[in-house]
């Protein structure tokens, strides 16, 4: 694949201090993550709540200080920039936060909200009313919405306003944190179609954070799976979905509930005890839940291996269609 990275994240770590009164320590919310996002592509971050997706997104956007690693955006190191120097970068890289209604000021009209980025960045010489109309039209809202307040919007409409704010300054990259959480499937489709449409029309790159695997499958070019603040697997979405190489990815995909009451499931079940970030397991951090675990896994941490653009952190990557030893035994008996 020809790559033209707009964003490059290398060995990024984010640590949070914990404890106090002489027992200070730190936990790693993001524990060394590498990825690139190419121009015009959609990159998905998948993982459960608490796996570090949002922290990573905030770090990329400069809202969260990183403790190690580098972040390069449009060929510029941005991890060392201070608040003031970061401001122009945010014109090129915008963020859509979770909770669309909560991220809109309840006392501002939709028109003011979608043109707020112009005021924040001191961009003059534009007719803000025209800009509001242009942006609302772009995200498929009637221009009459400019005079409404956030509480008068439905969940889907609020999300559209969030999209309009994100694209106001013609960014090159949008980071969307759970853009469809809380929406029902028809509205979810609308928002995703809109984002995809804008990506094509405006040539945007996108990072989408979600835990909905079905959504990822349809919208993302490449996908990274996070577990305890690390990528366990990353690669082309279609390839990751059809032949997961990391046991956690395989378990996630096999667990995905499908809307068919008669479907029989051949699931890889995992022990439900997710380790605490305060006590990361030794060796491979997934070994405490991994159905394929071997003696080496509890001692040796696996290095990330990259083969044909597919990154996997596992000593024993899975063959396509592999099933845990337990399930094989059951099937054989």
């Amino acid at each position: 694949m020809s790559s033209d990275p707009i964003l490059k994240v290398e060995d990024v770590q984010v640590s949070f201090p914990v404890g106090g009164l002489g027992r200070k320590s730190a936990i790693l919310g993001v524990a060394g993550v590498n990825f690139e996002v190419n121009r015009g592509e959609t990159f998905a971050l998948v993982g459960e709540s608490g796996s570090g997706k949002t922290t990573l997104a905030r770090a990329v956007n400069g809202l969260q200080e990183i403790s190690a690693g580098t972040i390069t955006f449009e060929d510029q190191r941005i991890d060392e920039l201070d608040r003031k120097a970061m401001k122009p970068v945010r014109k090129r890289m915008s963020m859509m936060f979770q909770d669309p209604v909560g991220s809109l000021s309840p006392r501002m009209t939709v028109g003011d909200l979608v043109t707020e980025p112009f005021r924040i960045h001191g961009i003059e010489g534009r007719n803000l009313r025209d800009e509001a109309e242009r942006l609302l039209t772009l995200v498929g809202l009637p221009t009459s919405f400019a005079s409404r307040f956030p509480h008068q919007l439905s969940g889907g409409q609020a999300r559209r306003v969030g999209v309009a704010r994100a694209i106001a300054l013609d960014p090159a990259l949008i980071i969307a944190d759970e853009p469809t959480a809380g929406l029902d499937v028809s509205v979810q489709g609308e928002v995703l179609n809109l984002l995809n449409d804008l990506r094509e029309r405006l040539g945007l790159a996108m990072v989408i954070i979600t835990h909905n695997l079905h959504v990822v499958h349809h919208v993302a070019d490449r996908t990274a799976v996070m577990y305890l603040g690390r990528f366990v697997e990353a690669g082309d979405t279609e390839e990751v979905f059809s032949a997961p190489q990391h046991p956690y990815t395989a378990a996630l995909l096999s667990a995905n509930p499908e809307p068919d009451p008669d479907k029989t499931h051949d699931r890889i079940t995992l022990p439900a005890e997710v380790p605490s970030l305060l006590a990361r397991p030794a060796g491979c951090e997934f070994h405490t839940r991994c159905p394929w675990t071997q003696s080496r896994c509890s001692v040796d941490a696996p290095e990330r291996q990259v083969i044909d653009g597919r990154a996997v952190a596992c000593h024993f990557p899975l063959e396509p269609g592999a099933r845990p030893p337990e399930m094989e035994e059951k099937a054989a008996s």
Partner: protein
């Protein structure tokens, strides 16, 4: 016996712009020992429904008619608050999306599990044993030691399981679970669903399970109630709803689920149009402005048509199967 029978329930909120009819002629049953799924998008009245059942409607909300009958004897719409307090918790328990909202961050799990047994006549020792038993049921490892720990020392999935253990501790007749798995990843979601199913059978309670994840509903529920703009547009068994939907909204909703698209697509199906303003509900069918089967008859209120075997759809042409573009 039916655990919960909701009959022709109407709820409205008074707003500056006039009354908002949040629930209109809502009827369905939660039979004993069944798991009933409630599906519908945000704003369709799911939360209002839960609050009406629990007697927790906001001050500007009122029940304008209809009945909520609990265990064949308690009419919840007119129940005195003191009796309602007796029911909430021991007889009708709830689990919400965010377990942190249910757990007190500065009190140990064990103490919280003791506190909620304040009505029980057991000794402290017995209550603690009961707490351990419940934690073991929801598969918290080393349950006795877990009692001394605080909520933040557990992962999200474990916190949700502790919340479920607490909800079921008093063996309620009805558990209302409002999107309890939304914040979990797929592996934990599936474990939690299986756990709920298991506990429901052990305890023998009924469950009202609210979710917009159609896959979870299909897997967990016995019956499904589909809500749209404050109305129950269709209800039936999980197979009736997923395999033979009769209300056009249900059919379109199922089509929209990206999980149903086995082919990868960049353009996901949607339902064009918007929900009508609930302050000015149309006289006729609530879905008419977005329906592809609409006709002149739809300007009159549609009947709850009985398709047989408890399958009911609020549509004039419910006896004709809806073509769905995608099969599961």
């Amino acid at each position: 016996m039916t655990t919960l029978r909701i009959d022709n329930l109407n709820v409205s909120f008074s707003t500056e712009a006039g009354p908002l009819h949040a629930l209109k002629n809502v009827s369905f049953d939660v039979p004993e020992n069944r798991i009933v799924g409630i599906v519908g998008e945000s704003g369709c009245g799911k939360s209002t429904l839960i609050n009406a059942i629990l007697g927790l409607l906001a001050d500007n909300g009122s029940v304008d008619g209809g009945s909520i009958l609990f265990e064949g004897q308690d009419e919840l719409t007119t129940l005195p608050p003191s009796r309602m307090r007796d029911l909430r918790g021991p007889r009708i328990a709830t689990v919400f999306q965010d377990p942190m909202g249910a757990l007190n961050p500065v009190i140990s799990v064990g103490k919280q599990m003791l506190n909620i047994q304040y009505r029980s006549s057991l000794s402290k020792e017995e209550k603690l044993n009961r707490a351990v038993e419940m934690l073991e049921l929801v598969r918290i490892p080393d349950a006795r030691a877990a009692l001394a720990r605080y909520p933040h020392q557990f992962s999200g999935g474990m916190k949700q399981r502790i919340a479920i253990a607490m909800a079921l501790m008093m063996e309620p007749a009805l558990l209302i679970a409002d999107e309890p798995t939304t914040a979990l990843d797929a592996t934990l979601e599936v474990t939690t669903i299986e756990l709920l199913k298991d506990l429901q059978q052990k305890i023998g309670c009924s469950v009202m399970f609210i979710s917009h994840h159609l896959g979870v509903i299909a897997e967990l529920c016995d019956d499904v109630v589909v809500m749209y703009a404050g109305e129950v547009v269709e209800r039936g068994t999980v197979r009736q709803i997923f395999q033979d939907p009769r209300h056009p909204y249900t059919a379109r909703l199922l089509e929209c689920d990206p999980a149903r698209q086995s082919e990868r697509t960049r353009h996901l199906p949607t339902i064009p149009g918007e929900i009508p303003d609930l302050r000015a509900r149309p006289a006729g069918c609530i879905f008419a402005n977005r329906c592809d089967r609409v006709s002149d008859t739809c300007s009159a209120p549609p009947p709850d048509k009985d398709i047989g075997n408890g399958h009911i759809a609020r549509c004039f042409v419910a006896d004709i199967p809806v073509e769905t573009g995608v099969t599961a």
